[in-house]
Symmetry: C2
Subunit: 234 residues, 2 copies
């Protein structure tokens, strides 16, 4: 759980620097607030995620939230950074196409209207505590809410980028394994391959908001495979 103020975590430069107090009350407040953010997002979507609502839900005073997180973007950055360092790994199915399809399936679930309950924007694991968002009325999709927020706050945008880059970095082993198996020649640009594979899902579900096509994850994976085998990413 990375907090805004210790993101760059020098232990206070001065010799007699003021001691931070991260124990007891502060920790409790943070936990309550972070949980309130998740709950509110799932229940009523991003528009309901005001500082006031979070504070009330967390049983904490408004000014406390303003001082520690500054704004909604800061709250989301905190939540996202916490989600970023889960133990997620890409599935290992034995073939490049199936690996990419599995990856795309996760993205698909996260982006689908009734979608997953997690900061699953790409990958799983986060906050399985938040009951599935399935059909929770105006709640809408949590992942989409987070992305929407990233357009309103530089801080949230940075956190989201870090989250995704972490996912892509770990997914590079999908490409590595394909090389080991001899499916691809060495020297392939893993990131380009992965972006090509996943991008159509974001395009269709997030930007174009077309009706979800269950075949899309596999088709996008196949397209990326074909391009990779043709040497486009070398």
């Amino acid at each position: 759980m990375t907090s805004p103020e210790n993101a760059s975590d020098l232990p206070e430069s001065g010799p007699e620097a003021a001691r931070r107090r991260t124990g007891g009350r502060s920790a409790r407040v943070r936990a309550q607030v972070v949980e309130a953010v998740g709950t509110l997002l799932v229940e009523s979507g991003y528009d309901a995620l005001t500082v006031d609502a979070v504070a009330e839900r967390a049983g904490v005073h408004r000014t406390t939230v303003y001082r520690r997180w500054r704004d909604v973007g800061g709250l989301l950055a905190d939540v996202l950074d916490a989600a970023a360092d889960d133990g997620w790994r890409p599935a290992d199915t034995g073939s490049l196409e199936d690996d990419l399809t599995a990856l795309n399936q996760e993205v698909y679930e996260a982006l689908r209207p009734g979608g997953a309950d997690a900061a699953d924007g790409y990958g799983s694991g986060y906050g399985s505590g938040y009951g599935s968002g399935s059909g929770s009325g105006s709640g809408g999709n949590l992942t989409i809410a987070l992305i929407a927020a990233s357009f309103r706050s530089a801080q949230a945008a940075g956190a989201l980028t870090r989250f995704w880059e972490g996912r892509y970095a770990r997914s590079a082993q999908v490409s590595d394994r394909a090389v080991e198996r001899g499916e691809l020649r060495p020297g392939v640009d893993a990131r380009a391959l992965l972006v090509t594979a996943t991008a159509p899902l974001y395009q269709e579900l997030l930007l174009l908001r077309s009706t979800p096509d269950p075949e899309l994850p596999r088709r996008a994976a196949r397209a990326a495979c074909a391009a990779a085998r043709a040497g486009v990413f070398h």
Copy 2:
């Protein structure tokens, strides 16, 4: 120029329906407001696009804007619908890869940080009157501002989807021409091909906000070509 209220343009159902007044003053007000929206977006980005700022810039009263467009989303929807029916056509270069690259180049310019001055999110032509946004400080990218807005307003989201679908529909002839030339077998899914070709640009520049790579438009086009030739979109 499609206005919110005549979007579904039945000429008033009742036999003695109240006559709308679209002439003189109303038309002038609309023109002033729409122009103010464009100017403000280019000059200072989406965050500066408040109803008040638009009203002041247009020399019109706040309540007028609130009543006719309801909110910023309504304003943007109006602007986007106006931009959607320009005369845009995809370039015809003589080969599929070059056609797609040209398409991607337009998207690239529109999405790049110092990017194009138009609602060029995909395609050109709109409002060439708005001086190029090149480097206009905090202005940021107009296209990205419009997309960001679409996450805050269902009305703007709908307009943006319509805009893009129109672009994709017209771009289908890129695929048709490739079939005619014998580059692709008949029966290819043009939309899937086009989405695959353009999606990596949106992914990198809009979502991941990575530093622009001038090679990206061509690489994405090549990847889509390779997939198409492999029969992925049939």
